[in-house]
């Protein structure tokens, strides 16, 4: 088997060019999925039999929460790859993930609070799911703070990678918090092994939003990755060509 494509993924000039070329192929489908999901979620889906139209917060809350976890796992895996095989591009991916993940964790917490008030009667409770999601936000912020505090990029990469990898234990805690402990938060209705517990007109817009947000993450990651790759290639000659234009 020819592995040259795999080795090229660790080559900064190749990654830079590939990221630039791929961005629109993720950004536009993301926009389409999100617009279709919004139409389906806000207009076509019927009101919930218990929560009425209040349940429509689902279509922004669940994709934000999904992003908060998926982005963290991406960050931790690429940080581990960077640590183990000393690949600069992997560290660049990890560094690109953090601000995206942090912002969507914030969105998940705020939309959750806005959903909690009418349904549970409180914006916030020190509940296992809510608390572990807040810890996730602090992990992201800690990661970014640690990076910002270390001048040398290589040292920042290694130190922050250790934090990212250790922090990944929080991800299964968040996911299973609703089954391990008594929580106000409901158990998963889509991200589970059994069939989703939702009728199709409610489920399809949710799946579109989840897909749209995921594609959006990839597009954002590709844009940020180019910047992070440039910052790690201080003296390379290929940089002259890409920034002089």
């Amino acid at each position: 088997m020819n592995w040259s494509w795999f080795h090229r993924l660790a080559s900064p000039p190749h990654v830079y060019a590939l990221a630039a070329r791929l961005t629109p192929w993720f950004a536009w489908p993301a926009a389409l999925c999100i617009l279709a999901g919004l139409w389906g979620g806000l207009v076509l889906a019927p009101p919930d039999y218990q929560q009425g139209d209040g349940f429509r917060i689902l279509y922004v809350h669940a994709p934000s929460a999904w992003m908060s976890l998926m982005v963290y796992v991406t960050m931790a895996v690429s940080a581990a790859v960077g640590l183990i095989w000393r690949i600069k591009v992997a560290h660049a991916v990890a560094a690109s993930c953090a601000p995206i993940g942090a912002s969507f964790t914030f969105a998940a917490l705020v939309t959750g609070a806005l959903w909690g008030q009418p349904m549970w009667g409180t914006y916030w409770e020190w509940d296992p799911r809510l608390t572990s999601e807040l810890v996730l936000l602090f992990l992201y912020l800690g990661y970014m703070g640690l990076r910002a505090g270390i001048e040398d990029t290589q040292r920042a990469d290694r130190a922050s990678a250790v934090l990212a990898v250790v922090g990944v234990v929080n991800v299964p805690i968040i996911h299973y918090s609703v089954t391990w402990w008594n929580s106000l938060h409901q158990a998963p209705s889509v991200m589970r092994l059994a069939k989703p517990a939702m009728p199709l007109p409610m489920l399809v817009p949710l799946l579109l939003m989840l897909l749209g947000f995921t594609l959006f993450f990839v597009a954002l990651l590709l844009v940020r990755l180019r910047g992070e790759v440039l910052a790690r290639e201080r003296a390379a000659s290929w940089i002259r060509e890409v920034v002089s234009a």
């Binding site: 999100i34 806000l42 207009v43 009101p47 009425g52 139209d53 209040g54 429509r56 917060i57 922004v60 809350h61 934000s64 601000p99 995206i100 912002s103 969507f104 914030f106 969105a107 705020v110 939309t111 806005l114 959903w115 008030q117 009418p118 959006f216 954002l220 844009v223 940020r224 180019r226 910047g227 992070e228 440039l230 910052a231 290639e233 201080r234 003296a235 940089i239 002259r240 890409v242 920034v243 002089s244």
Partner: protein, 54 residues
Amino acid sequence: MREFFDMGGYAAFVWPAYAVTLAVVLLNIFWARRALARSCAEARRRLQMQGERR
């Protein structure tokens, strides 16, 4: 139309949730582009300094 914006009485919770998420999406586009532009400007500045030294 009014019925749609009323969200069955949940308007005060549904619309702020959508507004916050929309703001996070738009800010992410802005932040990502700004980060790339800054890195490009920084790389350009470094190249210029190298050229002057020669």
